[in-house]
Amino acid sequence: MDHDRRVYDSIMELLPNEANPSPMVRLGRMSPSPEAFPLFAKLEWMNPFGSVKDRAAFALLKDLENSGRLPPGRAVVEPTSGNTGISLAAVSGLGGHAMRAVVPNKIPNEKKILLKIAGAELEVVSDELCPSPGMGDGSINLAKTYAKAQPERYAMPNQYENDANVRAHMETTGPEIWRQTEGRLTHLFLSLGTCGTATGLARFFREKGANVTVVAVQPSAGHDVPGLRNIAQLDVTKLFDPDLIDEILEIDYELAYVRALELSRNEGLFAGPSSGLIYEGARRVIERDQPTGLGVMIFPDNVFKYTSSMARHLPELAEGLEPTAAGVAANNS
């Protein structure tokens, strides 16, 4: 492995860690307080399979393998409709394991196709038989059923409960940021899904004794920002530790799409909607508190797999026209 020349024997060697961190890019035009408060985006889409979930997927599989729960030939089963599925399918496949992704029927076609391209077997379940409360049993319980009823055939990483998801960020993302910011980090902006990133990073910086404010940015209720959960949806994960989060900001989810577009146009950062939301949270905190220090935003993935989501919220994009949504400007400064 040669990070200098960036020549590798396997794509797996590109998985991020302190020696090979995902890049951080300083915001220019869209930075609210560029002198007093440099704001960086950590580009998780530069990971080999395209998202922050590469970290959890690798750590979860290693955990299963090291604990003897994933011997050769056994498959992985996981409820996932997005990045975790893509990363898990890729990492499992390279390790010689099949991967069964249990997905809700409402997921967009492009996601299903991507999972298939990554090598997953798909099991589509009707996840919303009735409006909540009283949802269907869901993809999580079906995945659990496979793992419990057929343990000789399936092992379930369980990204919502497995602490390996948290440890992945304590062992890679945290040390990377610390090194990349030379210990000057004061604010961390991220979003909550499984909460692996938030809990892992907050624990890392706390153990370091670093005084880092952790701000979680959440979409408003009824949102359709893939991968994120708003506050009411967080009970699905056991990795959420509210004591580690300094502030949870809820933001109108439409802004996720607007800001994602602006990041592409003004910063050349082809960020996905969750990154757009995180940016909006950072912007508000910086304008409100006027902090001095240094902020890092975790940008989970890029916009390429969200073209239809973008077009649903900014319909002019599909017409080849200029979006008219409030706040979208080619030269937002």
Partner: protein
Amino acid sequence: MSEYAQPGVLVSTDWVKENLTRPGVKIVEVDVDTHAYGAGHIPGAVGFNWQSQLQDTVRRDILSRPQFEELLSKAGISPQDTVVLYGDNNNWFAAYGFWLFKLYGHEDVRLMNGGRVKWLNEDDKPLTAEPTEISPTEYSVSSEHLELRARLEDIKAILEGDNENLVDVRSPDEFTGKIIAPAGMTETAQRAGHIPGATNVPWSTAVDADGTFKSADELRRIYLEEGAVEPDQPTVAYCRIGERSSHTWFVLKYLLGLENVRNYDGSWTEYGNLIGMPIER
């Protein structure tokens, strides 16, 4: 704290575990589709598919008596067996199965409180994908209890002045006509709203977060003390296709012990498609 009116019809997951191999106990998983049953089920359980096995698949109706007898014979169930039903979606379809078993006079049928999700998430409860070995029987129905079923004529009689409780157990959005049916449902109606005079008590009001039924006291408060149901009057429960209303029917009849409770299985997909019927929103 008071007990349920007929506590014997509800068994716990622990009870099922202890009685898994007891002769005369037959366990049946009833799902909207048997996908999950195929992935893993309680050892020894038979799987019934609500869509293809618990209703007539040609005309719209419940299973006929011969169809019911054939289903139970093939499932290896005898009339004197203790049948324990459990299933997906908080036991909606298992409750429908319970209603059907009672309608065809099966004496000892019970629901497993909390359904398949509760069993699945308890570490000490086994699950298997092994096919269940079945010794077919010659099941024969000895009595029918059609008084458990409400038909359109009964609804019309209520509209014409019969003093009965009409409980709509759908979501508030369905009740108020904001939506006709939950998104993605194939069984739907031409019109949205509810039957005039109905009270909206969503089915989920009867269960706790883990899918088990609320206590007798809480159920009494929700249904009786808050005025949704006048206990001295007959009651009809309905929903969209008659499965969520089976769940509430079970609560009213067996957990609260109301004398005369019927399930209107035609529900909104019948009523909301009729021409000229009054609708409230």
